[in-house]
């Protein structure tokens, strides 16, 4: 780098007058600059760069050394030489800065190269728990009915004969009350065979108030030998609505809304007459197969329909047992097996899986 000569015109005159000292220092500075820049030009590593910085610009560096000679200069000369020295310093500093930045860049590049990972290796696992599939299905059904204005009611798993049968219009000698079919604890106490007793308990708690709109999920028990489609313990969800002027057409509307949300908006329902002691009329409810849409497939055994619900209008004797006058109030009830719905929905072929709790099974049910 050359300093522009014209800026030194006046100085040169002065120097000529004042003698050679200034000239000598200037030359020294110039020589220093030339040498420093040349050396810096050749630097290839940060350490050497630093050494050179110390050598030229450090406290005991060569620039400082030259400037020490400024003591002999006159007050007029000093700023002139000072200015020259600063120019030399900043010229060297600039080059060092450029070099340094280059080295940082190089270093970053090298680090990036060194830090490269195999992005296809697996990540560290977040702990993965999950809900039991039956919990999921119950929650889903609860949420649909909560959205329709229902409360969730629950009751004891051990019931009295009265709530489990008698209040539900199953008289004493009804075949369903046989010891062979239910788990009795005493003559009067048994494991509930259905969640319907919760209906009567809730009606009594409501003390004649309307509307009653509840669903009752829970475990129920029947003396069935376990096989692919039977389990002595299973889950039911029952629904009950009581009010003035509750109609069978409301039951149809309610179930249609439920199946549309549960199984998809195109799901249709079909009611078939049936018989349950606690409802009159009683109906079995089929939904159009949500797998094939009703065309017939393996799931629906080619019929296009899946049987999922029992329901009907609450029998007057049940209303009476719950403290509601059947001439004033009416209601509907429906019930479904949670395992059956889960099996249909998820394509499970053996009910026993729900209670074996193989991790391979229960951990499958993740997703929305």
């Amino acid at each position: 780098m050359r300093l522009p000569a014209e800026r030194f015109v006046g100085v040169e005159i002065y120097k000529w007058i004042e003698g050679g000292r200034t000239k000598v220092m200037k030359e020294k500075l110039e020589a220093l600059k030339v040498e420093a820049l040349a050396k810096l030009q050749e630097v290839t590593d940060p350490q050497t760069l630093n050494d050179l910085r110390v050598k030229y610009l450090g406290k005991k560096g060569e620039l400082t050394e030259v400037l020490r000679g400024m003591g002999g200069l006159s007050a007029e000369e000093r700023p002139v030489i000072g200015q020259v020295a600063n120019l030399v310093r900043s010229a060297i500093e600039d080059v060092i800065a450029v070099k340094q930045e280059a080295f940082v860049q190089q270093e970053t590049q090298a680090r990036l190269q060194a830090e490269k990972v195999d992005v296809t290796l697996p990540g560290r696992a977040l702990p993965q728990g999950g809900l039991h599939p039956l919990s999921r299905v119950i929650r889903e059904i609860e949420d649909i009915f909560i959205g329709m204005g229902y409360k969730v009611a629950e009751g004891p798993e051990v019931e009295t004969d009265y709530y489990n049968f008698e209040a539900l219009n199953l008289p004493k000698n009804h075949p369903a009350r046989d010891m062979q079919d239910s788990f009795y604890l005493t003559e009067d106490l048994l494991m509930r065979t259905q969640t319907s007793p919760v209906q009567v308990r809730t009606m009594l708690e409501m003390n004649g108030e309307t509307p009653v709109k509840i669903i009752c999920p829970g475990k129920v028990f029947r003396r069935d030998d376990d096989d692919a489609t039977h389990s002595f313990q299973f889950h039911q969800i029952e629904g009950l609505v009581i009010g003035r002027n509750i109609r069978m057409s409301d039951l149809k509307g309610t179930l249609q809304q439920f199946v549309s949300e549960m199984f998809g908006p195109n799901t249709r329902i079909r009611l078939r007459p049936s018989f349950f002691p606690f409802t009159e009329p009683s109906v079995e409810v089929d939904v159009s197969c949500f797998k094939c849409g009703g065309d017939g497939c393996r799931l629906c055994k080619q019929s296009g329909w899946l049987e999922i619900l029992g329901s009907g209008m609450v029998h007057p004797n049940v209303l009476r047992a719950g403290g509601y006058d059947p001439e004033v109030y009416s209601g509907f009830a429906f019930g479904m097996g949670v395992e059956r719905i889960a099996m249909l929905k998820y394509g499970i072929d053996d009910i026993r899986n729900f209670y074996i709790n193989d991790m391979g099974f229960v951990k499958q049910f993740k997703g929305i």
Binding site: R124, L126, Q128, G129, G130, V158, F183, D358
Partner: protein, 814 residues
Amino acid sequence: MKVSTEWLGDYISLEGVATEELADQITSAGIEIDGVERRNKGLSGIVVGYVKSKEKHPDADKLNVCVVDAGQGEDLQIVCGAKNVAAGQKVPVALVGAKLPGLEIKKAKLRGVLSQGMICSAKELGLNDKLLPKEQQEGILVLPENTQIGQDILNVLGLGDEVMEFDLTPNRSDCLSMIGAAYEVSAILGRDLKLPDPAAELVEAGGPAAELAGAKIESEDQCTHYALRYISGVKPAPSPLWIQNRLMAAGVRPINNIVDITNYVMLEYGQPLHAFDADKVAGGVLGVRLARVGETLVTLDGQERKLEPHMLVIADAEKAVALAGVMGGQETEVTAETVNIMLESARFDGGTVRKTSRQLGLRSEASLRFEKEVDPNAVIPALNRAAALIARYAGGSVHEGVVQAGGAGVQEKILTLSLEKLNNYLGTQLSLLEVKTLFNRLHFKCGDAAQGVIEVQVPTRRGDITADVDLIEEIARLYGYDNIPTTLIEGVTTPGALSREQSVRRELRKLLASGGYQEVMGYSFIQPEQSKLFPALHQGHHAVKLAMPMSEERSVLRTTLIPQLLDIALYNSNRRQSDLALFEIGNIFFSEAEELKAQPQEHPVLGLLLTGSQAAKQWNGTVRPVDFFDIKGALEAVFAYLGLADRIVYEGDAPQDYHPGRSASVYLLGAQGRLKLGTVGQVHPELTRKLDLEDTYVAELLLQPLYDHARTSLQYSELYRFPGMERDIAVVVGSEVPAGHLLAAIREHGGTLLQNAQVFDVYTGGKMESGKKSVAISLLYRHTERTLTDEEVGEVHDGVVAALEQTFGAELRK
């Protein structure tokens, strides 16, 4: 109930209605048709032939060569292997080209002799083995002599019939009869019925029956009507083919004309009948009474039955001769030698019959019908119908009059139905005319409707209809559920919601699942031994047993969730899934009284199980086995989430079946003192060794206290605006001193300035004096309003240190 369409055609025209189509209509009107069975299993080209002659086959001992007139113009030569073939018989002949199940008949030479067809057995014709009369079970089928030659066998044996299987719900026992089925079909198709008129068909002959037989009822609660007819001079023989065909179509095996006719009429009217050999009835009187203590009876099946005093019997002057409504006795059975019979038709109590038949394991077509209560107005018509058929097909004389006891006529019920209620109930807008038309189809008589209220007379055959809602159902099912509109509930809307308990439970499930725990579901029943494991969450209470468990393994209501969690862990670790984090929420059961009198207590409980490694084996991390602090951490997360962290105390009191040094009871502090929530820790190594499990950690907590005390109102507290000051200390204390006690003392003496204190290191061994440990604790002081000075913190902190020194003899490590 198997309903033959051929038979049904006696009562109602089925013209133009395909059976499958009819089955669909019946199903959608309320009785599910399980299937339609064609009695023809693939026969064609089989006709009736007359065996003109039979000669031995020249080259085969066991074969005969028959000449048969099968109405084909020319006689046929047929080789036949059956032993019972004989000249003069009428037999089914499969002509050349005929088809049988799995077989086509061709012209053939048998040992050099030409055979132009095959003489068939009943089995070869596809008849059900089990339903064949004894004489037809072997050899060729021999047809009655009067059978017309050349006639198609399908017509002779009624094989063109199609049989619908009615799957009846318990209320529709009226359809356990052909006439009941005809009424149902008539209602569905809207076609007329033509029913038999037994009174008109019956011709009485001989003297008054009352001179030969007597009937009495001694137990009126179990029998309301007992009726007999006396028939003399019967000739037991096989029934006419048409009766046999219909019985077989209905799944009943033909026996002889007398028995077949009682069965036939039972199927027709739904009224079971029984025929006694009158000459074996002592005293000629049959009475209905309860069995005597120690009484026995040999039933028709040859078994001696020990009777109990609740069982109803028919007895002659000396002893029990039949189990009422269940099965007849062997001694008075109708046999080939029987000449005079007493024919019984009665109405026995359903419950009594059911109890007896269940107890003796004897379920018959008769008991099935009595159990569901028979139509009181069918007792006499059925009796007369059977008497008329016996007179006609078994050659007897029906003596004058019915001998009977009880039988006060049962009136048809009259129910009133409001048209408005019907329409409100269904959401329909049916007119009076429409409703009356539907009742008319059901053969329910309707009175004139006054002010929209219809009087409906319900036939006694429909015992299931007792209230107006039953009538509404009849209308609904015939009108068609598809035609009922779809509406939404009118009136006030209600907010749907979960209860507090339900909300907390859901949150817990979510929290645990997202913390890596997998939910499982066990059974409410466990083994008696399992119910004794782990500390009872309610001291002094008793486990509850099932009266009749299906197995010992599931005979007691669970008192703890842990044993089944261990079972699940074992099941999975046997399948190479041994890193497990499980939870279950379910009920446990206790009885306060030793003998269960009232409903037992049911408590919702949370169970946790942890075993194996803390995380799965990974390429970039070390695998650490789970320990006590992992499972405790899960509990702490639960308590923190519910806002209860500050109120929980762990006490290392070595609960039952836990590792004594790695377990604790968990308490909730409250205004009324502390409440035990449950236990946490490592399962006792002895127990896990017996169960063949690796080290396993479990916890069990009562949920009700958590539901009750969970924080449900969230409140914002201001963010810290001033810096806090941290002081770390390390104290040397006796190794038995619980860290929790140190922290409690620190919190107590730290006052309002102490914001947090946490253990960050515990050190024993090495340079530490034995029996001592060093606990390092980090304390954070902070003031909400200003920056604290060193002096302020120093004062409090010195107090804390002094308290530790005094209370625990702690030495501050420098």
